[in-house]
Each structure stands twice: as C-alpha cells, then as structure tokens.
C-alpha cells in the first residue's frame, strides 16, 4: 500500500514540478465559440444532399421502440440515422459453479476485440487513423509504444484448495501465483532493447493498474525457454523489419497485495464501465472479501499475414471463490455477533446442555440470491455487444437455479440465461444437498507443494513434492525463478521417492535448463521437464546458500523476510493444465542497521588514537625524570612553594648545624 501511494505521489510531484517550471496556467476555464452562424450555413448545405442520397437505407427513429414512453420525443436530426443491428465485438459471460464445502466459484469473463489495423502504416501517415470502439485505448497505446505482441497480467490472492475444489478454473491458465505476475512477447532488435521496452511496459501498466509492477527490474526478470510459450505461433508477426525478433519476458512480484485500486482500473477498461451487464456485480468490497480471487488480462495480437491486417484480442477474467454461509452471515450482520442459543447448531449425540455445545458441520441445505453475495443486482445487459450477456450455472440435479427478472423467477433447461435490455437481474440458487457438485468428477492431474527446509541463516533447502493421483503418467514443465540471494547448488538436486524407492533423478527429469544468477542483476532460472509415473508421489530437493545482502538491499521491513515467487508447473501430457505452488517466505540474516555508523565511529576513534600517539612521539619534548620533577616543583602551586621554602629553610638550618658541628669538631 505504501509503495503504491509513493508511486502516485511521485507522479503528481513530477507533474506539479513541470507545471511550475514552465509557469503554465492550466485553469480549465471555458470559452464559447460564437461563430456557429456561419457554420450552420455550411452545415445545411451539406446535410440536404446527404440525407436524400442515403434515405433508402435510413429507418427513422420513430420506428424504434427504445425511446421511453410518455416523454415528448426530441426533434429528429436528419443527419443522425438509425442503423439496425449496430454492435461491437464485446462479449461477457458469468459462470456460477458450486464447490464442495458450501463454496461457490463465480467466473466473470469479458472478451474485447479491437478494430482491424494495418501494422505497416505509420500513425504519422496523413490518412492513418486508429479507431476504438470497445477495445480499451489505454492498453493499445501501451502495446503500441512498447511493441508488445502479447501481454498477460495476473493478480491472484488466496489459496486454491485443489484437493477439495478440484481443478482450477480455465485449467489454471487464467490465474497466477500469489501476487502479481506479468509476461509478454515483445518485438525488439536485441535483448537489451527488449528489456528496455519491457521496463517501459511494466512502468506503464503500473500506472494503468495502480499496482507496484514498476518494481520489476532485471533481478526479477526471466526469459522462459519452454514455459509460457504462446499457443499460436503463426499469428505472431514481426511488424517492423525482419531483423527484429520476438522475446518472451516474464516477471512476478510474490505476495503483492491485490486490492480495490486494481479492480477499479480493470472495470474502467470495459466498455460498460461496470455500469451495466454482469460487471455491475463486481464490487471491490465483495471481490476482495473472498477466500480466493484472481484477476487476469490477456491481450494477443492476431494477424492475417496475407492481408496486412491485425487486431488485438483481450480476455479479461475475474474468478473468485466465496464461502456462501460466511457471505450470507456477513450480509445479515456486517459486524459479527455471537449467535443466540436457539440458532446454534449443536451435535446432540455429544454432551449438550445450556453450557456445552459441540457444533455440527455446516448445513447442506441452502437457498440464496447472488445479489446477497455481491451486494448488488445486475443492471441490464451490455447493449453494445454483438451477443447479449450470458449467465450460466454449472450444477448437478440436486441444485435449482432460476433467473429473477424485475422480481419474477424464470428457469431454463440448460441453466444458461441471456440478459436483455435494461431490466434488473438476479440469480436464485437453491439446493437440498450442497455437497453434490460437478467438480467431484473432475480429476486434478497433479498436486505440487514446495517448501523450505533446513534451519539457520547460512544455508537452506528447497523441497518440491509432486503427487500424481491419476492412473497415468503425467509430463510437466517445471519453471522456477529464484532471487539471486538464494545461491542454488544444482549439483545437490536429488530425488526422494516416497512410494517406490527405485526411482532415480534421471528417470523422471528429461531436460534441464539452468541460468545461474548474477548478483543484483539476474535471478537463477530453472526449468525442467518432469514425468511422474502413475499414482506416484516424489520429492525433488535442492540445497542453497543464503547470501549476505548489501546494507541498501534490505527492504524497510527487513525482519519480515523475503517473498519467493511461486514455481509454475505446466502439465503438457496427457492434457494441458497449469498450477502454481504457494509463495515462500525466506528469512535472511538481518543486520543491526546502526552498524555502519558504529563502524565509522570505531574506525575513526582507532585512527585518531594511533595518530595521536605517533604525533606525540614525534613532536613532544623528552625530559629526564628529575628534570620533570623539578619542573613540576617549579610549576606547582603556592602550597608546594611554601613547602619548598620550608624545606629550603630546614635544609639551611641543617646545614648550619652541620657546619657548627664541624666547627665544634675542629674546636
């Protein structure tokens, strides 16, 4: 959150700064044009001929029933005609799918295509105009500026419980690891050039989606070799010249918080702006209150090479899993309150009285409207689309679903509904047995979990467990990008077979691609193809050293630890599926941050001490002890002087006596 605000602040400051420097006045006062009279003549002369010529195809507005009744119709402008069947390539669909344990998966899917454009013509050409209808202009300008042919952006948060919920929606190809993930195919002359375009892309998207994507730098960027490959190779042309190449670049920000400020710009990209169609359901409070959610944007360039025509196709998807009883309870009581005694569901087989209650599992009977979960109803269809908005429920026979149109219920055979006009829609779902869901038959091809092993701040280990629950072997590509401060020992890569002990590393791993890290510049990049035999669980582990960071490398909350992005596993055989592991939290040794100052102080003190001694040895006058004593005597205070005088007197007296003695002696 803090990072994001800072980014926005910097932008504003820069803007302000540039304004001040140039002293531009940007008060948006408005000037009215008064020379419309002459325009009118010009216009009328044009209009008459135009209308006559096109009158055969014109259907007058009065025939169209869409104008509200009871209101006097405005005068008809002859230069505005009515063309029946005007529509644009925008489609939206909503899928509702109950999951076990009273969870509900809702999937919002939007497809937007751009108008066709000719990539070979420069936009500076006098006859060249870019037209936008439903495709977001903001995305196109970013793609155009950075020569991006494909763009994939993921915002995901939460834990997908594959063992209960089954397969990921869209077979995992529309959800990322925890945090933000971005990969793109960029056309460039060289790798350096591609990287600088990639950086521009990341910075622009950061502004567009109000996310910290601008924190992507070369130490987080990888160039995947076998993973993330585009589906259609023939549809990816090189626009500028044949010397250019396409680069696949990827980076992820682990555990980056996903929030309302990411959803709002996402909705702004849609032509309906969240004001009609299924997107009216999308409310930040509800989406981010769910147990798992994922926002994804995929843009691909589709070209007809022969005709020099291309168009962009965007898929925008919002998937979320809500726990229905929790949502309903939250709806009822926004502030959670303990249930009154009579509403408690207690297990009567166990000790049960006014003070003891062992709770029963959640009820398997349910009945709710989707608006109770999303807090709003759907307002009409997306009217500019060529196909009306769709809502589909994927349910078993124990479920009932019907659509509520302005309060009246309707049902269909295939549980799919088309929305039309500007009516108010809602979906009603009811079931006598919520545990009976369609996902039970779905087979998850692979479960993967990754964890950190070892202790201490010196070195550690990484252990990935692959579990193949299916009766057939599974081939997958394992992709991992680790920060440079995890110094991986690839030689320590070893396999622990949990089920059958005779498996060796060479038996399962086919090809390994490894690109070692460079401090501060490049992450270590590991990709391998792995085949897991049927019904087998195996673990692959690897050792690493923890590097000591520079003082300035530590983040503000250094003691929190360092987030390690999730590994990506793409199943390629027998079918395509993608899963990501959880992110990891690596703790590195954290120094005492006052240390540099202490070091400076102690060094300075030692140097001062040595210098002082040496200097004094060279410069100070050396005297004998007696001389020093005398000197001290001379320099001493009054009392000592007195004592000295007394002593002198004494000695004189003694001398006298001695002399007398001598004299006496002589006498």
């Amino acid at each position: 959150m803090f990072k994001r605000n800072a980014t926005c602040l910097i932008f504003t400051t820069l803007l302000l700064f540039s304004r001040i420097c140039y002293g531009q006045e940007s008060n948006y006062s408005i000037y009215k044009n008064d020379n419309t009279e002459q325009l009118e003549e010009f216009r009328n002369s044009n209009t008459t001929s135009e209308v006559e010529s096109s009158s055969s195809t014109v259907i007058t507005a009065s025939e169209d029933g869409s104008f509200p009744e009871g209101i006097q119709e405005p005068p008809l402008d002859p230069s505005i005609t009515i063309q029946e069947g005007l529509s644009y390539p925008f489609r939206e669909k909503l899928y509702v799918k109950p999951l076990p344990n009273n969870d509900l998966l809702t999937s919002f899917q939007f497809k937007m295509n751009s108008e066709e454009f000719a990539p070979s013509i420069s936009s500076l050409n006098y006859g060249q105009y870019n037209h936008f209808t439903v495709f977001p202009k903001a995305i196109e300008s970013v793609l155009h500026r950075t020569d991006t042919r494909q763009l994939h952006l993921r915002f995901t948060r939460g834990f997908w419980d594959a063992e209960t919920w089954g397969r990921l929606p869209h077979d995992g190809f529309k959800s990322g690891g925890n945090g933000v993930e971005l990969w793109a195919i960029i056309e460039a002359e060289s790798k350096d050039n591609a990287y600088s375009k990639w950086k521009t892309l990341a910075n622009s998207l950061s502004g567009l989606f109000c996310a910290s994507i601008n924190f992507i730098d070369s130490s987080k960027t990888t160039y995947p070799v076998t993973s993330f490959q585009p589906d259609n190779d023939q549809g990816l042309p090189v626009f500028a010249n044949s010397k250019n190449q396409l680069y696949l670049i990827r980076a992820a920000l682990a555990n980056e918080p996903i929030c309302t400020e990411n959803l709002t710009p996402f909705l702004k990209l849609l032509p309906t702006k969240g004001k009609s169609g299924i997107s009216t359901f999308l409310d930040g409070h509800k989406v981010f209150d769910s147990s798992w959610h994922s926002l994804s944007v995929d843009v691909i360039t589709n070209c007809d090479v022969n005709q020099d025509k291309c168009k962009y196709e965007t898929d925008a998807v919002v998937d979320m899993v809500t726990h229905v009883p929790y949502s309903l309870a939250r709806n009822k009581n926004p502030i959670p309150k303990p249930l009154p005694a009579e509403q408690l569901r207690c297990d009567t087989n166990k000790p049960y009285d006014a003070f003891q209650c062992f709770p029963l599992p959640e009820s398997t009977e349910t009945e709710f409207d989707l608006s109770q979960i999303f807090g709003k109803t759907i307002k009409g269809s997306s009217m500019m689309s060529d196909i009306p908005s769709h809502i589909c429920a994927i349910i078993t026979s124990k479920w009932d679903v019907s659509i509520k149109v302005n309060g009246e219920l309707f049902g269909t055979d295939d549980n799919c509904f088309e929305l039309d006009g500007m009516d108010e829609y809602d979906l009603y779902l009811a079931s006598s047995d919520t545990s009976d869901v369609t996902t039970l038959n779905e087979e998850v091809p692979l479960h993967v979990s990754r964890s950190l092993t070892g202790y201490g701040q010196d070195h550690g280990g990484l252990r990935t467990v692959f579990q193949n629950p299916t009766p057939m072997p599974i081939t997958a590509i394992y992709f991992e990008s680790l920060p440079w401060y995890m110094r991986l020992y690839l030689s320590s890569l070893k396999l622990e077979s949990i089920d059958s002990s005779n498996l060796q590393l060479e038996d399962v791993i086919d090809s390994v691609y490894y690109n070692s890290a460079i401090d501060h510049k490049r992450p270590s990049h590991l990709e391998y193809t792995i085949t897991i035999p049927a019904n087998t669980t195996l673990a692959i582990s690897c050792q690493f050293d923890k590097a000591l960071l520079h003082f300035a490398d530590y983040p503000p909350d250094a003691n929190h630890g360092f987030e390690i992005e999730s590994a990506v596993i793409t199943v390629i055989k027998p079918f395509k599926y993608q899963i990501r592991t959880e992110t990891l939290l690596l703790s590195l040794s954290t120094p005492d941050f006052s240390m540099p100052y202490n070091v400076i102080i102690i060094t300075s003190t030692v140097i001062g001490l040595i210098y002082g001694t040496l200097y004094n040895l060279l410069v100070k006058k050396v005297v004998r002890v007696e001389q020093a004593d005398k000197l001290i005597e001379q320099q001493a205070g009054l009392k000592k002087k007195l004592v000295a005088v007394v002593l002198k007197l004494k000695s004189k007296v003694v001398d006298r006596i001695k002399q007398k003695k001598v004299i006496n002696f002589y006498i």
């Binding site: 008060n27 948006y28 009279e37 044009n46 405005p74 505005i80 060249q128 105009y129 100070k620």
Partner: protein, 525 residues
C-alpha cells in the same frame, strides 16, 4: 638547538599537511560533483534574449509589364523607414531583392501587376503576394511605399505584431498549448448510456482531416485516434437543473479525468475533441442548458484551454443511432479552426485565415524565436536552480547538454541572420533545430541525478566524519601550540639543568671536602 627546531618543523609540517593537503582532499573526495556551467554567458543571454539575433527575411520583387531596375532599393528604404518607426522587441528586417529565374517559389515573392486600381492580394496556396498598381501610382512614385506597407501590414503582419512592441499588447490567452512538433489528437464520441451507437468517422476524417494534417505537417505532425466511450457524459447531467449556464459553472461541473488520465501516448501533448451526448435514461429531454437561439443546431461547442474542444449535444441518442458525415463535418470544421488557436497559430478566432501558407511560414519563424527564448529561459532556470541549491550535483551530461544547446543556438541564430536564406526548407530546418534545442535544454534541466543528492544535507557529512576530524584537529593543533609555547619551558628546563649540574658539582665538592676531612681525620689519627 637543532632538536628544538626540528620538532617545531615536524609539528608545522603535520599541520600544513593536514590543512593544505588533508582537508582539501577530504573535501574533494566527499563532495558532490558539480560541473561548471557557462553561467555568465547564460546570464547575459537571459538579460538580453536577442543580443545576437537579427532576423532577416528575403523578399523578391517580380515586376510584370514595366521593368523597375531600382525598385528593390526604393522599397528597402521605405521598409527600413517603416520598421524603424516601430519599436522592435526582436530585431528583424526584410531584405528586398530583385527577382530572377533561379529563385523558386518557396521564397516570399511580390508580384507587381498593372491594373486599373491599387490593391493587393495574398495567394491561398503559395507564398506570393500580388500588388496591383496603376500608372498614376508609378508616376507619383507611390509604388515603393505601397509595396512596403503591404509587406509590413499584411504579408508579415504576424511578425509585425509579435516582434514589435505595440503600445497595446495583445491579451495573452492561455488557450494554446506549448509548442511541440508532435501532437496527439483524441477524438471521442461520448454517450451517457450504453446503447449501441456508431459514427462515420473514418470517411469524415479521410475527406476532411487528412488535407488539414498535410497542410499543417511542416509545423505539427498529428497522430489521431478516435474512440466511442459509453457511460460517460462528463458529469454534465449534474447541470441539468439549470437552463442557462455560465462557462464557470460548466468548467466546475465537467469531469475530464477519465478522458485525460487513461492515456499514455509517446507524444507529450495531446489535444481532444469530445462529442458528448446526454443519457437517454437520465436526461430524456436532453440538456436544458444547450439552447442556441441564433441557429437551429442542437449542439454547442466549447474550447477548454490546453485540453481541446467539447461539443455538447442537446438531445440524447437513441439505440443504433449512426452519426453521418453530414453531421460530423461541421463539427470537424469547427474543431479544425479551434485547433489553430489551441496550437497557438492564431491568437483569436476573429482572425481570418486568408493565406494559410504565409501564416504557417510566419508561425514557423515566431516559433523558432519562441523556442530560442524558451531554451534560454530553461537554461537560466537551470542556473538559478544550481545556484540556489549548493548541495545539488551537476553531472557531466548536464554540462554536455548545455554546451550542445548553446552551440545549436548559435547555428540557428546564424541561419536566421543570413539574408540569403529564406525559403521554406530553411525555416523548417531551423524549426527542427530549435525543437532539438528545447529538448537539449529540457534534458539538461530534468536530469534525474540532480535532485537526488539534494536530500543528503551537508550536516550529515560533518556528523559522520566528526569522530575522525575532531581528534585529529585537536591533536595536531594542540601539538603545534604547545611546541611554540615551549620556549619558556625550555628556558626553565635549562635553568633546572644548570641548577642541577651546579648542585651536583657542589655536591661533588662537598664529597671531596668530606673525603678531605676524613683524610685529615685519619691523618690526625
């Protein structure tokens, strides 16, 4: 004696090394790099912007029937006289030259044509001005004065008004954007609701806007995109209760954020045309405040300074409405006119654009001079900035850019001052160079490294080094002071030494005496 001086010498050596070598070295090593900018030159440029500029535009006179061998000299005298009577802000003059066949039409040419009357006409599609004269004007020798007047007041009237100090300065409007060679245009059709609508924009733009782009291409290159935006009426529905609005009300209610914020163009300046329709659902009767009794159109257009033009329609669009070319053409015409003002080519809408080629040519010259001024001002700001922030780093690249800019400026000035250069290509070349100049200056000013160091105050440096500097300074200084105060001490020491030695001698004598005594005693015994 030598020992005494040697120690003094050592102490002084230490002090001198410390003060003369150590401290400067420490200061040098810990100080921020500040390249030395040519401050005096920039300051003199700032004080007198056009000290080395004298804009000279060549004009060729092409007579038809009569041959006037000395007409160019006569016109030159008249022109000089006219120009001298005006107070010049930027020194400029016209160089009148006789026409010959080697001169191409890219230069300013005056055609003299014999007619029954006296008058002038500026060509629409070239840089030629035709002056009509009759025999009477030749006889009375009025022709040179008339040509001079035509040139100053008509052909070069933009220069005359911009480059001279006129007693009543034209009110500075903030409508126009700062000049940049590349401008992005966004043309949007906005509707208050989501009913499908369409427009015949491609044909309209190709028929109407492409020639306009071509016309302006020597000065500004446009990239254009169009879009249909649903569910956005710029928040104008909030004004619907009022039937008559003022510009202030409109500017307060209007919300342009969505149109401006979501765009990332490579061009630094983007201008907009927004054609707004109210929502059918929310405002079925249309916007009350759009009522132009003067004409029968259902729309009104407004200029938003430095942003673009908004065309507000009174009535909402029905489902499947399609805006035809005949609807869009007048809007485009209006927009094209407003663009001249938004780009700063003309000052107000009342200016009639009779000869666009000449206007564009004048605009080029004015822009070059404005760019020169902007560049000097930017450099001056840089100097001021570096002066006021003593702790700010000035990297080498800044100096390099400043040097490049100043060199380029001199080249441009040379081109402007050359009386022989005056065709289209030269002005375009100079314009491109002046754009480059502005860019250099801005790159120099907006160098990222400059402000970065500013947040590390000098006190920190002292605080960090004090544990080292403190002891060293005290030890060295006190050592020297002590050394020089030693004279007294040494004298005392010598005294003591003498004292001690005399006492020892005395003691020896005593001992000898005692021995003697003892000896005598023994003798006696």
């Amino acid at each position: 004696m030598l020992e005494k001086n040697l120690r003094k010498l050592i102490a002084i050596c230490f002090l001198l090394t410390y003060v003369l070598l150590g401290i400067p070295l420490w200061y040098k090593l810990t100080t921020i790099y500040r390249a030395t900018l040519p401050i005096d030159y920039i300051e003199s440029l700032h004080n007198d912007q056009y000290q080395d500029v004298h804009l000279v535009i060549p004009v060729y006179i092409k007579p038809d029937v009569y041959k006037f061998p000395d007409i160019h000299d006569a016109v030159q005298i008249q022109i000089n006289h006219l120009l001298n009577s005006l107070k010049q802000k930027v020194p400029w003059s016209l160089q009148i030259l006789p026409y010959d066949d080697t001169i191409d039409e890219k230069n300013h040419i005056i055609n003299l044509e014999l007619a029954d009357f006296v008058g002038y006409n500026a060509a629409f599609d070239s840089k030629e001005t035709t002056v009509y004269y009759d025999d009477k004007s030749v006889a009375s020798n009025d022709l040179p004065f008339f040509i001079a007047q035509t040139l100053i007041e008509h052909t070069f009237h933009i220069e005359a008004s911009e480059l001279n100090e006129i007693e009543q300065p034209t009110p500075q409007t903030s409508i126009s954007v700062a000049y940049t060679p590349n401008v992005h245009l966004s043309i949007s059709l906005l509707s208050g609701d989501g009913l499908p609508i369409g427009w015949d924009i491609e044909t309209t733009l190709k028929d109407y806007f492409s020639p306009f782009r071509e016309l302006l291409s020597p000065v500004v290159n446009f990239t254009v995109d169009t879009s249909i935006i649903y569910y956005n009426d710029l928040n104008l529905h909030s004004l619907n209760s009022t039937s008559n609005i003022t510009s202030t009300q409109l500017s307060h209610a209007m919300d342009l954020s969505e149109l401006s914020s979501m765009n990332y163009f490579s061009e630094s300046v983007a201008l907009n045309l927004a054609i707004v329709f109210p929502s059918l659902e929310r405002n079925p009767n249309g916007f009350e405040f759009i009522n132009s009794p003067k004409n029968h159109s259902n729309w009104q257009s407004f200029v938003v300074p430095q942003w673009g033009v908004i065309t507000i329609n009174k009535y909402p669009l029905r489902k499947n409405s399609y805006l035809t070319e005949s609807y869009l053409n007048p809007i485009m015409y209006q927009f094209a006119q407003d663009l001249f003002e938004l780009l700063g080519l003309t000052n107000s809408l009342d200016d009639e654009l009779l000869s666009p080629i000449i206007t564009i040519d004048s605009f080029k010259r004015i822009t070059i001079l404005k760019n020169l001024e902007k560049a000097t001002e930017t450099l001056w700001s840089l100097v001021k900035l570096t002066k006021s922030f003593q702790q700010m780093a000035i990297p080498k690249e800044v100096l390099e850019n400043v040097r490049k800019a100043l060199e380029l400026r001199l080249n441009i000035v040379e081109m402007l001052n050359d009386p022989k250069l005056g065709d289209d290509l030269v002005w375009s070349q100079a314009l491109i160079m002046s754009n480059q100049l502005v860019e250099y200056c801005e790159t120099a000013f907006f160098h990222g490294e400059m402000l970065k160091q500013n947040f590390f105050p000098q006190e920190h440096k002292v605080a960090v080094y004090l544990p080292l500097l403190g002891p060293l300074t005290i030890v060295t200084l006190m050592g020297v002071i002590k050394c020089f105060k030693e004279n007294k001490l040494l004298a005392k020491l010598q005294e003591i030494d003498e004292d001690v030695s005399s006492t020892t001698i005395y003691n020896d004598d005593e001992k000898q005496d005692e021995k003697l005594i003892q000896g005598s005693e023994s003798d006696e015994l």
